[in-house]
Symmetry: D2
Subunit: 360 residues, 4 copies
Amino acid sequence: MGGNSFGKFFCLTSFGESHGLAIGGIIDGCPPGFEINLEKVQHQLSRRRPGQSTLSTQRNEEDQVEFLSGLFEGKSTGTPIGFLIRNKDQKSGDYDALKNVYRPSHADYTYASKYGIRDHRGGGRSSARETIARVVAGTVAEEILKQINVNIVAWVSRVGNIEMKNSQGPFTRQEVDQHLVRCPDFVSAQLMEKAIESVRDEGDSLGGIITCRIDGVPAGWGEPVFDKLHADLGKAMLSINAVKGFSIGSGFEAVSMKGSEHNDEFITTDSGIATKTNHSGGIQGGISNGQPIWFQVAFKPVASIAQVQETVDKDGNAKSLQINGRHDPCVVPRAVPIVESMAALVLIDHWLRTKAINPA
Amino acid sequence: MGGNSFGKFFCLTSFGESHGLAIGGIIDGCPPGFEINLEKVQHQLSRRRPGQSTLSTQRNEEDQVEFLSGLFEGKSTGTPIGFLIRNKDQKSGDYDALKNVYRPSHADYTYASKYGIRDHRGGGRSSARETIARVVAGTVAEEILKQINVNIVAWVSRVGNIEMKNSQGPFTRQEVDQHLVRCPDFVSAQLMEKAIESVRDEGDSLGGIITCRIDGVPAGWGEPVFDKLHADLGKAMLSINAVKGFSIGSGFEAVSMKGSEHNDEFITTDSGIATKTNHSGGIQGGISNGQPIWFQVAFKPVASIAQVQETVDKDGNAKSLQINGRHDPCVVPRAVPIVESMAALVLIDHWLRTKAINPA
Amino acid sequence: MGGNSFGKFFCLTSFGESHGLAIGGIIDGCPPGFEINLEKVQHQLSRRRPGQSTLSTQRNEEDQVEFLSGLFEGKSTGTPIGFLIRNKDQKSGDYDALKNVYRPSHADYTYASKYGIRDHRGGGRSSARETIARVVAGTVAEEILKQINVNIVAWVSRVGNIEMKNSQGPFTRQEVDQHLVRCPDFVSAQLMEKAIESVRDEGDSLGGIITCRIDGVPAGWGEPVFDKLHADLGKAMLSINAVKGFSIGSGFEAVSMKGSEHNDEFITTDSGIATKTNHSGGIQGGISNGQPIWFQVAFKPVASIAQVQETVDKDGNAKSLQINGRHDPCVVPRAVPIVESMAALVLIDHWLRTKAINPA
Amino acid sequence: MGGNSFGKFFCLTSFGESHGLAIGGIIDGCPPGFEINLEKVQHQLSRRRPGQSTLSTQRNEEDQVEFLSGLFEGKSTGTPIGFLIRNKDQKSGDYDALKNVYRPSHADYTYASKYGIRDHRGGGRSSARETIARVVAGTVAEEILKQINVNIVAWVSRVGNIEMKNSQGPFTRQEVDQHLVRCPDFVSAQLMEKAIESVRDEGDSLGGIITCRIDGVPAGWGEPVFDKLHADLGKAMLSINAVKGFSIGSGFEAVSMKGSEHNDEFITTDSGIATKTNHSGGIQGGISNGQPIWFQVAFKPVASIAQVQETVDKDGNAKSLQINGRHDPCVVPRAVPIVESMAALVLIDHWLRTKAINPA
């Protein structure tokens, strides 16, 4: 009830603070008998890890995951999968000055209000290091989803004011990773890189959008009322640090369309019933319709900036603050595997759910 | 697990199809000893009900709610509140022609794919009549939230391309209801009305945006990781029929801002620690910070239009379709109380949650 | 979170007070496409209903159930099944004298302590009338379980000191219902009847044991750790009014056995792997092993007795109390369908769960 | 959904196999600001650990727990508490002969039926080593409960046919631990010890009963319908390995009592409203009444015995089996802290729940 679990069937519970001993988690409900390639988990972690390029924080963590249970001779056994990543490059000293000062647009003040006590070192539990556990569990989920032909790819479609064209994909992860910005359009990627370098040099930060596309989900996944598939995807994405908005398919652009333009006509194709357009984003009435699922996730600029900022301390006294530490000028390149992982957690959950609902 | 429950503490479970006998629900977890003014429930239902103006569907339902349990001498007893609204103006005959045809951008095809069986009359469970139960439960929640000074007001901030200014409010419900479009800016409201009439006359429909603002939530509500307050608000809103997008605070506009512009500086005011700006939308790190919570919800144009559309039947045969029935040309005016109700359900849930988490 | 829901997959949420307008509930997660014979529901309700014989309370309720949703043309649709039973023979006046007095071994004092407010009429929510909703939902579950060859039969195996032999069955419901005591051993049944009549005439009451046997559950249902199949059965039974004990298989008798006596040797039979004895009660390590599941449920004597009792009122003043109203001298004959229904709810839940856990 | 979580508010999720790398877990929902004495955790683990006396298995595990998160400067922070116990004295080789053979009354066959795959080494997840995580989390819960004056003590009240008198207590843990059998009546304890030694020497095993008493729970904890306090206690106890029965208060003895004998009259004492007798076991209508809570838990004889047994292998072939390994001749002395821990988990959960239900 502390809100550290995600998923009803394939359920991740995570723990760990930024500057504590470890980040880790338990996956409960992983179906048995599936081969899990642990190198794929490590690979996605390397796409998320800090210090991977000049565009990201220089905290240097290997983020080596240790699996403790639930796997036997390379396969899932159906019992819970415990895993652990030790924190190594903690520099708690960086945070001593922040002990009693509330960093603007961080969770310092709200955690203090909620709990009355907090581990201030590096943001404690509110740090994005928490997302490591999401990537581990999400990649285990992906390993299984691949075996039923579900394929998830996310990419950076916008940084600041720079937006790529053709944002519905599909792209491969190789195409996405061609440029360290993780935008598959190389020209846009180069402009995005420059924009990020520019704010980095100013001691500032920049927001962005990640687009995600999922192929291979058959018609029939999702629940009709409160647990609509896109509602669960939306919650998943909005739970990622720094996310301010989510849209499915046509999203906010649907607002200015007419029904006659927006409606996706059904047609019959070689592979069965399909739709001519896909404004629905692959989901109708909360349930997948067999078309690609695609959605967008808006990230705010990172709150940790190097410029001097005005704020208050816990007693309400005005303070000038300069955050040292090591921070990302733009979080979206590293957030790509996090978006993919959260999508995988939602999808595997709804897949398992279809089995319980239609047992015959 | 059928996805018909919402909330972990103050939990609504709902039932009912558009053309079945009744819509109803059970609220479990309502705290005892609170006065509940049932007229307020009926009033919110009247703001949601069909046939209330020339801008909405002409289906004529009184939507009179009967409370069956959980209330004693005007107060909640802590036991479950069962309630019921009988359907009266069902014209199932309108739907016979649709039995085997999939209406574009409706849930007909996806329900059939999921369940293999469906009550086709009026969309069955996928009908927006389901939202009646949300409004009943949400208004009960609001009655309690008011007693701890939490105040929720939503309004139409955009219809098609017509957008009002000053979209952060605050407004009163009286101001919102001055115009049947439920936009508190009268000039914009008149333009919106014209836009809706225009598409209605074309047999078409139009989308819109609802903005919601919540005052009075103290700092400390929400959970840090997966159940962030805005993630739960996002799921709640995305679970409403026809919603395609959700954004909290600065939302998608945050993308093109720099951290130095976006960060909300802390200041000290007469009433304690506050922020100078509110790009965060009242929530930081998933937890309320005491500032007004505000968010936006994007609705697509209604899928039921009077124009002839191309589609297929259940065997994949091409069909021309003309939907008769009675439909809204634009759903946002009637959706205002639904947005308010879902917000109330999220907030009361997180309020109760704070009590369990900080028991001392 | 108010504890009025049971089941994770096939989930019953119930509402209603003894002397309120109605008892009802919602089944969420009922799989689609199953024929549900509603007469069977009414039949089980008639086995539970008051006034059915001289051994039970003379409150006269028809307990006619109305189904409001989730069924279409005789079959489950997968959407929630709402249902309702109106209370008719309420004589609230009987309870006015009890408004401020705490009946011994009833829930009056504990409800007042918990909620600070209570609907005192007939015990309100603590009345065994609440079990009506369990029987409705449990019988719907049974209708589905029968189609996969799971068969549940409970019977009275003991009343006071009178115990029948051969308590593992199997018996048919016809055999059980041959005598109004619902003990399938006619000689014991007659003795039990006499014992009940005897305490009834003294204005007193008597306890008893119900044994339940379930045939047809294949090996593999249940969860290994916290949600062991017999743990869930135990919770289900202990949640029934007046139940004080639960045992699976050998139960408390296992205590004085040696491992070499108690262990169930595996053997191979025509129908596969089986066990020679069944001390395990059909469940090993929390998971069904394909043998009959059998367990026992101990009921205390009904707390409502006609004799004068000493107690206190809400201010702690000593009071002499004589309960009038209409009460059962022994609850076990009417509790048989409740035990069957709760067993059915547990079993269908674990059946659906196996599908989500082993999706391939 | 894999059934490896316990508790809704203070929720333990556990992982780990007998012969895997580690046993561990996550506590989510631990309230912040409470001092947790980690030595107490280690002490309870030492009461549970193997090899502690000649009456228990000679597997030698230190069971040293490492806390990884959620604690800061000796106090709980409200964030999840991750913990880990490495397995050290694994002798997997002992189990090679058992790879394809189903041990009688073990979970080998049922796990294989459920998952189709299993880690056979030492029973894998079905091993009682899993209860380590329960003891860690339960003791953390106890540390908090003590601060609100809730006190839990369990003891061995029966082994085989040897039963102690005065089984309602109260006793202190010191009294319980005076004898390694953990029966606070020294004479009975000595007889129990002899009985255990006797079966051990025969290569056999013996069952027993643990009684648990909880003082200090105020009136008002528990839920009225499905989540009755004793139903949750019952589920908790029945989920422990080898448990076959649970009874609250008078339990199975209530069956042969009359209502006039069994009813607990209310009286007024110096400390408020109380009951004269306590057949209810401190719980009425599922809610605590302020009297001591007491219940009994029946354990079967351990299934692992040294004698030759007849069984079958996975292909159904008859096999003679002799289990080597290291096993307990009677599990109840070591199960005392497990019973206490599970009780603590149930109680803290219901305590937090009262806060959410009565928020004012």
